[in-house]
């Protein structure tokens, strides 16, 4: 076993639990988030396992109906609010943004630590709600079911999500101020890595959208607790109003989950193709376009809700429009490979997997934007398949790619390349086997959130559960070899992938102050091929 040379870095600068819980170092806070969201991911996955086991047979025989309803609700809540939304921004964004822009830390280190505590408090409320009986409203909390009909822990869960939202808002605020004010000399906007652009766009959505969902959940809470009529027609309210407010945040929230992944893909593809990014400005601006247009398409979740046909048409045409910037990104990544010098280390496999799965997810999004077609597939497994392709196939693939790409930087250790490649293949194959049959199920008409289902849907559900087993294995393997690498992995150099970017110019793991001297940037991003001097 190799031992680390006695160089001070952010991991060995200080020891003890206090040094972690009171740290103001963005890198350590990133690690705190990494541990927290990994635990949440395991919990959300456990719910998914139970859901897939129930769906092996048409009869509702594995768990009771109420239990099943709580399982899919808690799977959604844990995975979305406590894993996917914070995943890349709070772990990798936190860790990398200052390193990528040549800064010492984020603009507000105390606020950064506070956002982790806020996340934890929200998480504890939600976990408490789960332990003391769970919640069964679906992660969407549709009224009036959530306010008057449900007998589960709606209030406690709402409080948890309300609180956690502030963690997002604070992180977004911190990122925006940091990117505006703390870039290294010479690092102009159009020299920024696309990862930074993606996080800028994500942060905009976080600070503009999250307050709306916080207000909405607050309104659900007071209608439920005090019978104040807002959404329940029996109290003079309007249940459709809830859907407008909810989706005004929750559609853009999808972009909170996917935009950071898109940023990751631009970093990985350029590195392993040894190429400059194709169409830098178009990728950068398309992130902003997605953030802006993403706020104008919420009504496409409501095509069957009896909203006006003309409103539906506006939402439909805008939903088609928002697909274009995503398509532009995919084309640019593809073009980046042209005349490259491509190698296939694990991060690259995850990135290529992302392109495949995200493309399928994006194209099937068009089906749902199409009014006449959405009426049929709305609230069926087609929708379930589509958003898993985006949020798991896309966002989670990007997250895994990012973890593998920057793991040496974060920990100073290399993992087993062979095991990582196996994991990438398992995830890709398992994912497709799990979710592709669900497109077919959806068009056949199987509604989502069904505890029991007609016999003719069983074959496809068995395929899906089989795929989920492979997918689960694909997620467990990295957990093992990455943990293993912390103690037994070979030491990583400052730049093991020979990648461009300021974060690779500082040692792995970086010192607490990130850079010994403030770097000066004289070139645009992705200056591949690297000059010999730059390869540390």
């Amino acid at each position: 076993m190799e031992t680390a040379p006695k160089r001070t870095n952010y991991l060995n600068a200080d020891y003890g639990i206090r040094s972690w819980l009171l740290t103001l170092d963005h890198k350590r806070i990133g690690i705190l988030y990494l541990i927290s969201i990994t635990l949440m991911f395991l919990l959300g996955s456990l719910f998914a396992v139970l859901i897939r086991l129930e769906l092996l047979t048409p009869a509702g025989d594995f768990v009771q109906a109420d239990t099943y309803n709580k399982l899919f609700t808690m799977h959604g809540i844990v995975m979305i609010f406590f894993f996917l939304v914070p995943s890349i921004p709070a772990v990798l964004g936190n860790f990398l943004l200052p390193l990528m822009i040549g800064a010492r830390d984020l603009a507000f280190p105390r606020l950064n630590l506070m956002s982790w505590y806020v996340y934890m408090v929200g998480g504890i409320f939600t976990l408490w709600a789960i332990i003391t009986g769970g919640v069964d409203t679906g992660w969407t909390f549709y009224t009036p079911y959530s306010t008057t009909a449900s007998h589960s822990n709606v209030l406690m869960t709402a409080v948890g999500i309300f609180i956690t939202g502030f963690s997002s808002i604070l992180t977004g605020l911190n990122f925006i101020v940091t990117i505006h004010t703390m870039r290294a000399p010479g690092l102009t906007w159009f020299r920024l890595p696309l990862f930074v652009w993606a996080h800028y766009a994500t942060s905009l959505i976080m600070i503009l959208g999250t307050p709306v969902v916080a207000i909405t959940i607050f309104l659900v809470g007071i209608e439920r607790a005090f019978g104040l009529g807002i959404f329940d027609p029996a109290l003079g309210g309007d249940p459709i109003l809830f859907q407008h407010l909810f989706w005004f945040y929750s559609h853009p929230a999808v972009y909170i989950m996917i935009l950071p992944s898109m940023g990751v893909i631009s970093e990985i593809i350029t590195c392993f193709a040894r190429k400059r990014i194709f169409g830098y400005e178009f990728i950068a601006v398309s992130s902003l376009a997605i953030a802006v247009f993403g706020f104008l398409v919420w009504g496409h979740h409501m095509f069957t809700s009896s909203q006006s046909v003309y409103a539906a048409m506006i939402f439909s045409i805008l939903s088609f429009a928002v697909a274009i910037p995503s398509a532009v990104k995919v084309f640019n990544w593809t073009a980046t490979l042209y005349k490259g010098s491509i190698s296939f280390e694990a991060p690259m496999l995850f990135a290529m997997g992302f392109i495949g799965l995200f493309t399928i997810g994006g194209l099937t999004g068009l089906f749902l934007a199409s009014l006449g077609l959405d009426v049929h597939v709305h609230d069926t497994y087609f929708v379930v398949a589509h958003f898993h392709y985006i949020m798991v196939g896309g966002a989670l693939m990007g997250y895994l790619g990012a973890i593998h790409f920057w793991w040496p930087k974060m920990t100073g250790r290399m993992y087993s390349e062979w095991a990582a490649k196996v994991s990438a293949v398992l995830v890709f194959v398992g994912f497709n086997l799990t979710f592709f049959p669900q497109f077919v199920l959806g068009y056949l008409g199987m509604p989502r959130r069904y505890h029991a289902y007609p016999d003719e849907f069983q074959v496809l559900n068995v395929m899906s559960t089989t795929g989920a087993s492979i997918l689960g294995l694909g997620y467990l393997v990295p957990l093992c070899y990455l943990t293993w690498s912390l103690w037994r992995g070979p030491l990583a150099s400052a730049n093991p992938w020979k990648a461009a970017g300021l974060e690779w110019t500082t040692p792995s793991p970086p010192p607490t102050e990130n850079f010994e001297t403030t770097p000066v940037v004289e070139e645009e991003a992705y200056t591949y091929p690297l000059k010999e001097a730059e390869v540390v």
Binding site: P239, L337, F344, Y443, P454
Partner: protein, 323 residues
Amino acid sequence: MSSFSLFPESASTISGQVDALFFFMVGTSLFFGLLVAILVIYMAIRYRRRAGDTGAGAEIHGNLQLEIAWSIVPFVIAMVMFYWGASVYMTMARPPDDAHEIFVVGKQWMWKLQHLEGRREINELHVPVNQPIKLTMTSEDVIHSFYVPAFRIKADAVPGRYSTAWFEATKVGTYHLFCAEYCGTEHSQMIGRIVVMEPNEFQDWLSGETTVADAGSAMVDATRSPAEIGAELFVARGCTTCHQGAAGVMGPSLAGLYGRERNFADGRSAVADEAYLRQSILEPQSQILDGYQPIMPTFKGQIDEEGLLALIQYIKTLEPNEG
């Protein structure tokens, strides 16, 4: 309706149109999906790093013509998809004038269906083939969604308002009816069947023995039509006091009201449709007819959803020359 297949049965006039749109989108998606996949795989192989390679990719920054092309072309195709989808949606949103009307009330966890001729059904709907059927829907509790995959139609039943959907079945048979909007414990049991019959068999069925009676509802006698029950409610609830006969001092005449433009005291106006009638009964103060006093009491909480539908159906039958 219960054998394994990869494509759903197509059994309504709209289902073929939806499928055609679906195949167009599958075709387009396959083209672009395969294009990206083939390019990525081809380039991954063609430009793989070989032994002894310097590890330097070509220095290419981008290409404006390409960027414009791959923005515009997908946009144009997306607009074709939009137009096609919107036109199918418009067809779905507009029931033909000769549609046969059926009332649908969703509640946890059953579908209650009411034929205008009088028969009531639960979780089962009999309809004639080749006849447009218009569904007027609401819910007694939470949001439900009326979904018949074989007809490719779905519409939410929302408490406190009416929504509509329509279909014309083209094939005799039995089809799934699902609740598509999550509604609680027995959501996956809120299912039923649509039975499409030959017109003459349907007529026999319609005049046959009733099978369902719900003592808790306004329609205890399920053999009578909603309009008959509505007429009775109209008297029993005292509506006649103000709304009987010619335009009275107290309240306007309701004869020939349905479908007419109404002008309110506050300057707004509305067409007297089901939603208008519903609101006038439940929240009369919200739309006072010009020239009348706001004296009508609310009937909120006093008439159930089926009673309301019966009352509205009765008002719809009042001809202009009556009274």
